[in-house]
Amino acid sequence: MVPLSWYLILAAFLFTCGLFGALARRNAIAVLMGIELMLNAANINLVAFWRYSGAVTDLAGQVFALFIIAVAAAEAAVGLALIIAVYRKRKTVNVEELDLLAG
């Protein structure tokens, strides 16, 4: 049997990768991909905690993970539409050049 901590370490690593991508990438789509990785890491944690908790038939972890998948789909749809709209106006998706609101 795989100990729970192994899943948690994998999720922590994936979350860190996503965090780095969201903080450090120049392309807005790459930033969005980092966010997807972070959401997936959270999902691994939820399902692992569900599996190793005492109440397997309670299914709370799985339900939460499904809600996260739905939220991720909505987030990706609107986020990518925003990026496309910005690209149409500014001809760039570089997050460093999108600084109209920077003081």
């Binding site: 789509i29 997807e36 993970a65 998948i69 739905a70 749809a77 925003l82 709209a85």
Partner: protein, 172 residues
């Protein structure tokens, strides 16, 4: 004094292989220079997560992961890359000017998570789960009883997302 190396079970070996694959793909998503390669590695990482779900015996979630993430979200990301391509050509680096601080922050975060992980005695053994379709039926039951507000909120969110995204992405 001989060091005792624990012999891994078959499940552990499969987990380690899948975990290494997922982690490698996840890392390549964020450091790959070509955005399109990033998207392909993202598909690999998502598939690895689906395999992890199978190992956790959450088969329905694994199918949902493949269906929604790989079948739909990854497709949308590839479409968006195709629609906005061309502007990253000739750039020396895919990283922005705060990438150093970003890497440092992510590393500190990871070390903090690992330190926290070592502090807590996590369970070693998973619980036995029933082997029939009662889990999926249980999910459906939970959606319309305990979590009905969240379920309807998801419906509303999806509607708003559809309307908003159509408004934003439409050619005018």
């Amino acid at each position: 004094m001989p060091i005792e190396i624990p012999i891994p079970t078959v499940t552990q070996v499969i987990f380690l292989v899948m975990a290494l694959f997922t982690a490698a793909c996840g890392l390549m998503v964020v450091i790959s220079r070509n955005l399109f390669h990033s998207a392909l590695f993202l598909v690999g990482a998502l598939f690895g997560v689906a395999a992890i779900f199978v190992l956790l015996e959450a088969e329905f979630l694994a199918v949902g992961q493949v269906l929604v993430y790989i079948g739909a979200i990854a497709t949308l990301i590839v479409f968006a890359i195709m629609l906005t391509r061309g502007m990253m050509r000739g750039r020396t680096s895919p990283m922005n000017h705060v990438s150093g601080r970003g890497a440092l922050g992510a590393l500190v975060f990871f070390v903090a998570l690992l330190a926290f992980l070592k502090k807590v005695p996590w369970p070693e053994q998973a619980q036995a789960i029933p082997v029939d379709e009662s889990l999926i039926a249980g999910l459906g039951d939970k959606f319309v009883t305990t979590y009905v507000v969240a379920f309807e909120a998801v419906g509303l969110l999806l509607m708003v997302a559809l309307i908003g995204a159509v408004m934003l992405a439409r050619d005018r």
